[in-house]
Every structure is written in C-alpha cells, then in structure tokens.
Amino acid sequence: MKQTRAIVITGNGTNCEMEAAHACKLGGFDETVIAHIAEILSGDIRLDDFHFLNLTGGFLDGDDLGSAKAQANRLKNASVVGTDEKLVEQFTRFISNGKLILGVCNGFQLMVKMGMLPGFDGNYLQQTVTLTHNDCGRFQDRWTCLKVDSDSPCVFTNGIAKGIYLPVRHGEGKFLCDSAATLARIEDGHLAVLRYSDAGYTEAATEFPVNPNGSTNAIAALCDPTGRLMGMMPHPEAFVHYTQHPRWTRETLPEEGDGLVLYKNAAEHVKRNLI
C-alpha cells in the first residue's frame, strides 16, 4: 500500500518541528520527515514527495522584519540549487495538486505574508490579510477557547462539535484585513475557521485575555476556499495528550488532546483523496 507522507519544514528559527512531527505520527501518517530548509534548497528533499506540509511555530529569522517576513521573501526568491526552479514553484504545485498545508503560529504568519491565505480565486501569492503585534504589546503564552465555524469548508476541523482548547504563544497574532470587503468575503465564505471565545464556545471574545491579541472579530484561524490550506495562531500540536492540558491534574479528560483531531483529519483526507 502507498504511504501517507507528512513533512515538517524547519530551520532559520523554526522551533516546533519535533512536536508537530509527533502530532502527524499520532494523527496516522505513515511517515513524517523533519526537513531543514537547507535540505530543500539543496534539492535533497522535494515537497512533491509529500502529501501534508507543516509550516510550524517559531521565530523565522528572529521575526526581525516583522514575523515571518524574511522567510516569505526567501521562499519567493530563492532557487533550488543547481536548477532553475524557484522554491515557490514547489509550493504552488503542492497546492494545485490538491495537497494539504497547515500553518501554525509562525507558519500561519508565513502563509498570510506569502499570500497563501485566504487564497481567493486560486491566487496563493497575493497578500490581503496580516498578523501583527498583539494589542497588549507583549508576547503571551496562555490557553484559549476556540469556537469552530462548523459550516467551514476546512478539512482539518471536520467533526469538531463546538470548539477546542489550545494554547497561544505569540507576540504577533493580531489578525487584520486590508479591507472590509476582504473580511466580508472571509466571513461569508466561512473561512474564519476558529475564533477566540468564552469557555462554552458560544460567543466570540473581544476582550483581553480571552482574546489574547485583539484580532479582528476574534479570528484565530483561517482556511482557503478549498479547505485544504489552513493557518492558525493557536498550537494544535501542543495538545495531543491530556498531560499537556493546564488542568489535567484536576479534570477528567480523554486520553487525546483537542489538537489531535486536526492531524487525524489530515491523515484521513490524504488516505481518501491522495493515495
């Protein structure tokens, strides 16, 4: 039987590759490779050989020019060694081949700054939204309740009843759109997959700290109209087992953490559609 294959890109300040790979494995991928960007730029590893791409958390290039800006520039402009191929072509081909991309935190920042999200009209290289400094002006590590839009086309959140509970760990997570029209198109298309909310997952939250960064309409995650590309500020890979929950010593929790469903859905989608 053919293998389901996930790849996690690391290097230049990516930090969450180990736990993201672990989540892919628990989610059911037959193989998960942690690839340093140097190994992709050198041509040793090619995105074409994988079904699920993880762009995960960290501080790409120290977020020195604004979060993930320098990596977005690198991916757009760098060529694979010894070829005429720009790296970005591997990305666009990956998308057009119907494969899955999940960007978490710094990975989400990278996706919006490359223009991969929201990805209207099949244009994955046009930036229309951004993630910028939290209103509180500081990095925040805290857990958040995330209300799901169950009408979303998102492949990853399929089956989540009301919401999920995950940590955010960022200084630049405030979601903004370039225009009211973009926001309306996102919301009308149910592309705002997750929103910061109250503990019952009923109301989107506007106030700190329940909304940790001041995001427009409490938007915490975004998908493209196909539902195969998703970016989110909270960390699903940080909650795949109950011992990662901040209150596991006082609550009765299932073995699996809330974030694992995203990886399971990804593996399931790959099995059904790409193998």
Binding site: T10, C16, D61, G62, N77, V129, F139, D141, P167, R169
Partner: protein, 996 residues
C-alpha cells in the same frame, strides 16, 4: 550614498509599540505625553538600483496590509519631536543583518565587502514636552547610550532639514594591526597601573609572577627561537589575564582559607571547591555505589547524569550580572543564549530541552536617589525580562521554572541566573555521549558568528566591582537566530561523527576555549589572522579575547574537515579552520607568519599559586522584634501576599514560552483559572514516553543577614522540597550550586572581607552537610564573587546569595501533583513541624526587622518524610501539595485555596510544633518559615492509605477544603485569626506586578 527606507503604519492601524512606550514614559518618568508613534528605518549602504530598493521596501521590509514605505522621504507627520535611535558602530544589529540577507535573496547577489543595512527606530512624540523632557525620555528609556546612538529633531528643525539625514554607523578607525610589547621591568606601582589601565584585573602578586616568568633564561631562550623578545606581547599578557581572571579561574574557591569560628577555633581549608563541593559529590557517589547516576561532573561545560538507558541529562546554570547592570537587555539576552551553549557544548553535544531563570532586583518602585552609574531597578527589570524573553523564546527552548527575588541591595548589581538543560544520547557513534577527546593534529575550527570588538574584557571586568569606569566594550548583544542555525547544523554534524570535541566560546573568547581544549592534548598552534572578523581593524589580542557571541570551538579530524565545511555552507553557517592541536606543551599564537604569543601550557594553567584568604566568623546580633499579639492577622496576610517576594509574577511568566517542544506536564501555573504558582516544573523530553524531567530551585538571600550556613541549608531544602512536591523521585536527583557573593577578599576597599569570606565558608559547610543528608550529588555550578558597586563614595554589596537548582526524574509523569486544592471535603495535612523561626522572614521584613531565629533544617528527618511522601504520590493518594516558604503556612494555604477555587478551614492548634512551647503563638504558626514543610490535601477515601504510608513521620491533619470560597483559620484559643474571601486574597496577590 546610503539610502533611507522608512516604513510607517497606515492611518488607523494601532501602534502597539508606541502605546507601550507612552505607558512606560508615564510610569517611569511621570511625564505626560499625548501620543507616541514609531517608524522603522533601514539605512541601506549598498549599490542597489532604484528598482531593487523599491522591491526591498515593498517586499521584505514592509507589510502591505498595515504599512507604507518611502525612500529618502520622511513619512513623519503630526509630532512635536522626532527621535531616531540606532546602534553604535560595531554593535550587533540583528534586524540589520536579516534585512541584508533579505536583500541578497531579492537581488540574487551577495553584498560586497563593506556594504550593509543598518536598522533604527524613529519615535514621534506629541504633547507639551520641552527639549529637556525629550532628552530625559531618550536617555532614560528609548536609548541605552552605551550601545545605541540617537538624534533629536523638533518639528521645526525636522521640516527645515527635511528629516534625518542618512547615517551609516560603520566601524572606522585604524586598520593597522599592531602587536605591542609590554615592559614589566618596572616598579610595583607601575605594574599595578598596567593591570588597572588595561582592565587586566591582575593583582600585584600575579603581575610579579608574570614578571618572574619573563626573567627565566630557559623561557627567554625558547622565545628567541620564535622571534620573541624578553618582554611579553600584549597578546600574551591579555591571554594570561583572561585565563587567570576570577571569572575563569575561580581563585577564591581555589584559594587557601584560614577560617576562625565564633569560638576562636581555627581551620585551614585548602580550596573550598575541593573541600566541600567536589567532596560532596565524591562522598554521595561512593555511598550510592551501583545506584550512582552521575556521568560527567565538574569537568565539562555542564554536568551530565543518567536519564534512562538511552539518554542522559545535561544541566548548567550561569550568571550574567555585570553585563546586565550596564545593558540589561543585551546582558540578559547574552546570559540566556550564552548558557544555552554550555549544555550544547558538553560531551559531544546535547539537544536543549528547557531554560530556567532567576532574577534578583531592587524594588522596581524604588524612589530614592541612586549613584550616577546605576540604572533604575525598574529599567533593569524591564530590560532583563525582555532580554531573556527574546533569547529563550526565539531559541525555541521552553522557560519552565524561575523566580524573581527582591532586595534593595540588588540595586548595586542585579543577579541574572540563566539555566539550560539538555538531553543527549547515551551513546553517539559508539562512544559515550558525555565523553570527548582531542588528538594532536586535529584541526581547530570556529563556527557561528564573527569576531568584533564586542565583549572585550568581559571576563576581567566582571572580576572586579562595578565602577564608574567599567568598560563599554564588555557588553554584547546576543543573536539567537545565528546561534539556532549553528545548533541546527552542529547537532546533525554530531550525529554524522564529523567532529571529535566541542566547546563553547564564552568568557575570555578563544583564549579560554582554545586554551582549555589545548589542555586536553597538550598544545595548539593557531593563526589569529584566519579568524573571520565583523569589520577590519582588530588587533591580534582583541581577536583572541573578544567575547563576540554565537561561537563554538571544535576539534575536527583532518579527514572530516571537507565534509564538515561543506555541510556548514549548506546550512548557512560560517566555519573556519584556525590552526591545529599539538602535543608540544605550548599555546602558540600566530598572526600570519609571525608568532604573537608563545605561552607554556603549564605556566598558563598551573602558574598561579593559591590565594591566601583570611576568614573570621562573628555571628551578627539583630534586634529581636517585639511581636504584638493580634486578634486578627487577615490584613497581615494580605500585605504578605502583595509583598514583592511573594506576589504573582504572572505578568512576567506569560511572556516566556513555557510549552514549546510539547513536553510540558507541570506548567508554571496550576489551578482552576491557570494562575496558581506551581512549585516545580515537569517536562517530557521524549514525547512518546511518560518519563519526566523535574526541575526546581531554592533561593533565600534574606537569611544571609543572620547566618549564611542556614541561608544555604534552607536554599537546598527549598529546592528539594519543591522538587519532591510535584512528584520528583529521590533516587535520581542532582544539584547545582550558583554562588553570587560580594567581594570576600580583605582589602582597603573591602575592610569586612574576612567576615564575608567566613560567610562563604559557612555556606560551603552547609552545602556539604545538607547535600550529604539528602544524597544530592552536585554536578555543576558557578560562582560570581564580585557583586558590589563602588564609585569611591558609595558601596553597595549584594546579600550573599546561593541559587540551588535541582534536576531529576519522575518515572511516570502522569502521577504528577500540582499545588491547587482539588475538591471540597478533602483533608488538609501539614507535613513537618513548625517552630518559632521568624528570623529573616517575610513577615518580619514587613516591619523592616530581621530578628535572629532563622529556620533550621533537620535534613535527616525531612529526607525520611520526603521519601514517605513520594511513596504516597506513587500510590496516587495525594490530591494537591504546596511547599511552604516565604510567608509560611498562611501564604501557602491562601495560594493553594485560591488556585483551586475552594476555601479552607484550618485549625492552628492541630499544627505540629517543634522547640520551646513558650514561643508557640498564632503569629509564628501562621508566618514562620520553618523548613521542610508541605501543605497537602487528600481525598477522604484515600485517608487511610495516605496516613499508613506517612506513618512514623511528623505530619498532622489541620483542616478541610470547603465549598465556600473563604480562607478561615482559627487560632490556638479557638478564635478566628484569619477570615478572608479568596477573591480578595487573590487580588492582593495579583495586583502588585500586574501592570509591569
């Protein structure tokens, strides 16, 4: 001509950075500013076309959704004063470096020599400010003039001049490389002057030893062969100064102490380090026999212990006090990324799994005048917190445990302790992971950052008190991303077996790292001209001792060098061969063909006789405070909860990523609202296993005012009782000692040196005694012995401080226990006895007193109880456990209750008492800080099981967890002594530092 690219936020986009500065101006300087906005400025000094500049501005430099940009056209409007702040020439400019790389990707061609991009920030201030106010804002807040430059323009001048002109902070100056010879055939006062003027920190005796070496005919004859004369070169003298500095050589801990106790008993101690610290480990290991888990102690950059059959744990804690006093942000950032290199450079290299940090500051609300060179404690607090935040978060290492400790005397020097643990394979390429060696003929390779004038004399300047003339060059700024890239490369190179030996470049730079490595095989020959420089113009001695960051030194076998270097290029890491290791007994430095230093290894490492240190212990006597018997202590409890040393540090802790790497089991906060203070941290470094690493620490400098013996005993006990509380196993736990002392060497500047030295002796005695009782081997540590400020009139010495850290294991992390009470009806137990031990307590500190009855640690009894408690944890009968420390029982009970969201009824008459019954009263029972105590809750159905396993130990059931959200404590006569709702207690605890 350099071009300025300005990037501004679009109208209507919130400027969070500007708002934060506005708040800080208000908080710090009490100036009323209407508005602060900020712009990013990139000064591009490179041959780019107009089109390329526009692409850079529109691409990597700006975000089209929220920002606009311009080239050579000011964007600022609507302000009264504009201020631009950038780095001084040669200071690490991380944003500039990233911008430069981004442009190179964009254009597809590398920058030419001398071309660069420089970053600065423009601040636009609006409101009724005078130029004096603006100067105050700039120098007091926006700009650290040690490392940064600024210019100010009023709105009128700004429009007249068309904004700020481009400014290129390129390092200029002489590029002539020079090696000086220093004449040591001079009178003693001139010898001392050479040391003082050169920031060599060498004493007269040490200068004379060097003088003697250069009179030895055999040495002179050997030197002649290499074209060297009878005078030492500056390279040699600087190298010896680094190698022999207190910072590198630990002369005080290695010295011979004549100790006299309070009864006139005299004792000669040859090396405190050998007599106490090393002996502790040796004796504990002997007693453990085949259960010994120590793998590498005291000989490498960090200590190594066994974790399981396949992995070993590595741990090191460092301090970075002196640099943090001068540049809090850069000093602390360098502190954390610097200590990262210790476990990374241990054995064959380790993956880093967590950071810890402990900061000691003066009151951030300090309102009295300070000596001119000292920064305000609040600014140090802000800078240090942010430096460690950036260093830790950007490196992807979770910060899992720490403390903030406050005492006014830390205004003289803040203490910045940074720790890092790592995990290494037990076996790498067929060899123990913790072992390494060098063969003569192996190549000397330096990887990572380049060398500049940053951090010159860091080792020697921190070996002296902070003074008016402390050198600017001693400060560095870390670059976590360059380091991360290097680690990504080196860990892969390790697994491929591409190097034989690795160590870090820290204090003393190459002189120290290569000097120590050469000690492994017996010599080295290195060409300083081959070292990659940030900018031209460094003299050989500067190249040798620069503490420029993000560098590791390696020994690479010649047959592996091509593969090693090729891999480095692929990973974007600079690797340079500087020479080779030899076995000829000489530390031989060249600059091109010319020999610039020729130092026999034996003289470098063994040439210094031990220091002679007098120590005399006279126990201090403090006024014993008269305690008023109060009917009600609720207000006192609230005051304690608000005290700086006890209050919530959540505003700081949430800025540190404590969960990255995914192994977090016990986080810094526990409880129903994720905000109760956890005692210790647990992480699972291997995600498909439930084996956990547990870490905790103890620190109690207040007790040093009474007796450093008991300060130390309590610090060790506090670390272990925190560790035990969450479920750490006593079968696999090791300690690290970090001594931060005020200068204990008797001199004119330090007339009370003999007392301070006696304090150090007593601390070491306690360390041995208590660690022996607890079976705690010491695996690594560090000392920092000159934590004083002296400007000729004012002297501020820190209280002698020991940070004791522990690292160990919990076999099954799913059995971990947190400090929050879990459900109403649970029985509350107090483990351990309480005594009349309010000396040095937070309670006495409320009224400015110290007292004398410091808590005494009964380690033998405590150890038995800790073992019994661990048994209870293993059988699952403990619902919650919180350690008792600052503020005693009342504070611990309040914290456990409000963390869990349930109340507690406690009865003081049921508490076990130790010592004289005459001292037993409600106040002591509530607030005494008697050691080795835990507050436990147990579900009623587990009661029997719990009591059975604790049988034979001192513990008492003292109350019950209640549904009602109130803390109710009754006193000895049955009356209520504390009654408070949890919400008000929690508010008292949270309010103090919430806004910082």
């Amino acid at each position: 001509m350099a071009k300025r690219i300005e990037v501004a936020l679009r109208a209507g986009v919130r400027d969070a950075r500007g708002e934060r500065i506005k708040r800080e101006i208000d908080h710090f300087l009490h100036l009323n500013v209407e508005d602060v906005r900020t712009l990013d400025v990139y000064t591009v000094d490179a041959a780019l076309t107009k089109n390329e500049l526009e692409q850079a501005a529109a691409g990597p430099f700006s975000d089209p959704v929220i920002q606009t940009w311009s080239i050579d056209l000011p964007l600022a409007t609507g302000f009264d004063y504009a201020v631009e702040v950038g780095f001084r020439p040669g200071v690490t400019d991380n944003v500039g470096r990233t911008a430069r790389e981004a442009v190179a990707y964009l254009t597809g061609r590398p920058f030419a020599e001398g071309e660069n991009v420089y970053y600065s920030v423009q601040f636009l201030l609006a409101g009724g400010l005078t130029i004096v106010d603006v100067e105050k804002i700039v120098t007091g807040l926006l700009c650290n003039t040690l490392i940064q430059r600024y210019s100010i323009l009023s709105a009128v001048d700004f429009s007249a001049k068309g904004g700020f002109p481009p400014f290129v902070p390129k390092v200029s100056g002489a590029t002539k490389v020079e090696v000086r010879e220093i004449d040591l055939e001079v009178p003693d006062d001139e010898l001392l002057k050479i040391s003082k003027d050169g920031v060599l920190a060498l004493t007269l005796e040490e200068m004379q030893i060097i003088q003697g070496q250069y009179r030895d005919p055999k040495v002179l004859a050997a030197r002649k062969e290499f074209g060297l004369g009878a005078k030492p070169t500056d390279v040699e003298l600087e190298c010896l100064a680094q190698t022999w500095s207190e910072h590198c050589k630990h002369k005080i801990f290695a010295g011979t102490v004549q100790y006299e106790d309070e009864n006139g008993n005299r004792q000669e101690i040859k090396s405190l380090f050998k007599s106490f610290i090393q002996r502790t480990t040796k004796d504990v290991r002997e007693r453990m026999g085949d259960k010994d888990f120590c793998l590498s102690v005291f000989k490498d950059n960090a200590g190594v212990i066994k974790f399981n059959d396949r992995h070993s744990l590595v741990f090191k804690v460092e301090t970075h006090n002196s640099p943090s006093a001068l540049d809090p942000y850069g000093g602390a950032l360098t502190g954390i990324v610097g200590v990262n290199r210790d476990p990374f450079g241990t054995g064959q290299g380790a993956k880093l799994i967590f950071n810890t940090d402990v900061f000691c500051f003066a009151d951030p609300f300090y309102a009295k005048p300070l000596p001119s060179r000292l920064l305000h404690p609040r600014r140090i607090y802000e800078g240090v917190v942010e430096g460690v935040e950036h260093g830790g978060n950007k490196s992807g290492i979770p910060t899992v445990n720490g403390s903030l400790v406050f005492d006014e005397r830390f205004a003289g020097k803040p203490l910045v302790f940074c720790g890092t643990a790592g995990l290494m394979p037990a076996v790498v390429n067929g060899q123990p992971g913790h072992d390494k060696y060098i063969k003569p003929g192996d190549l000397i390779v330096m990887t990572g950052g380049r060398i500049g004038k940053d951090g010159i004399h860091g080792a020697t300047f921190s070996s002296e008190e902070l003074n008016e003339n402390s050198p600017v060059t001693a400060v560095q700024i870390g670059d976590p991303i360059t380091q991360k890239r290097m680690f990504d490369f080196l860990i892969r190179a390790r697994d491929k077996g591409l190097y034989r030996f690795i160590t870090d470049n820290g204090a003393g730079g190459l002189s120290s790292s290569i000097g120590e490595m050469a000690g492994e095989c017996g010599g080295c020959r290195m060409d300083l001209a081959r070292a990659p420089l940030k900018y031209p113009g460094l003299n050989p001695w500067e190249i040798l001792i620069s503490e420029a960051q993000e560098r590791m030194s390696l020994a690479v076998p010649p047959e592996q060098i091509d593969e090693f270097c090729a891999m480095a290029v692929r990973f974007g890491v600079e690797a340079t061969v500087l020479g080779e290791f030899t076995d000829n007994g000489v530390f031989h430095m060249l600059y091109g063909d010319r020999t610039v230093a020729w130092l026999p290894m034996e003289f470098m490492h063994e040439g210094l006789p031990p220091m002679q240190l007098p120590a005399k212990w006279t126990p201090p006597q403090h006024a014993e405070p008269m305690l008023d018997e109060k009917g009600n202590y609720t207000d006192d409890l609230k005051k304690l909860l608000s005290a700086l040393n006890i209050c919530s540090k959540e505003s700081v802790v949430r800025r540190y990523d404590h969960e990255v790497q995914g192994g977090s089991v016990v986080k810094p906060f526990s409880g129903v609202n994720n905000d109760g203070p956890s005692d210790a941290a647990i992480v699972r470094p291997i995600l498909d296993s439930f084996e956990g690493v547990v870490t905790a620490h103890g620190i109690c400098p207040r007790y040093s005012d009474i007796d450093t013996y008991h300060m130390t005993a309590n610090a060790v006990d506090e670390a272990l009782r925190n560790y035990v509380a969450v479920g750490g196993s006593l079968d696999l736990v090791a300690g690290l000692d970090n001594f931060c002392w005020c200068d204990p060497v008797q001199s004119d500047k330090t007339p009370d040196g003999a007392y301070k030295m006696a304090q150090l002796v007593r601390s070491n005695q306690a360390l041995y005694d208590v660690c022996m009782a607890y079976n705690l081997p010491l695996i690594s540590g560090k000392d920092s012995m000159k934590n004083d400020f002296y400007d000729g009139t004012t002297k501020i010495s820190i209280p002698p401080t020991l940070l004791f850290s522990v690292i160990g294991k919990i076999e099954d992390a799913r059995k971990a226990v947190t400090m929050d009470v879990k459900r109403p009806g649970d029985i509350v137990y107090l483990l351990g006895a309480t005594g009349d031990e309010l000396g040095g307590s937070e309670y006495f500190a409320l009224s400015g007193s110290i007292g004398n009855k410091v808590p005494l640690v009964d380690a033998a009894t405590a150890y038995q109880r800790y073992q019994a408690y661990h048994g209870a944890v293993n059988q699952g009968s403990v619902a919650s456990c919180h350690d008792l420390s600052d503020g005693g029982l009342a504070v611990a009970a309040a914290e456990s209750a409000f963390a869990g969201g349930y109340g507690m009824n406690l009865d003081l008459s049921r508490v076990s008492w130790k010592g004289d019954e005459a001292g037993k009263n409600d106040c002591a029972l509530l607030f005494s800080e008697s050691a080795s105590r835990h507050l436990i809750t147990v579900h009623p159905e587990q009661r029997k099981q719990f009591e059975n396993i604790m049988h034979g130990n001192c513990f008492a059931s003292i109350g019950v967890v209640t549904e009602e959200t109130k803390l109710a404590i009754t006193g000895l006569n049955g009356d209520a002594v504390i009654t408070a709702c949890l919400a008000e207690l929690k508010e008292a605890w949270q309010q103090t530092l919430r806004e910082l």
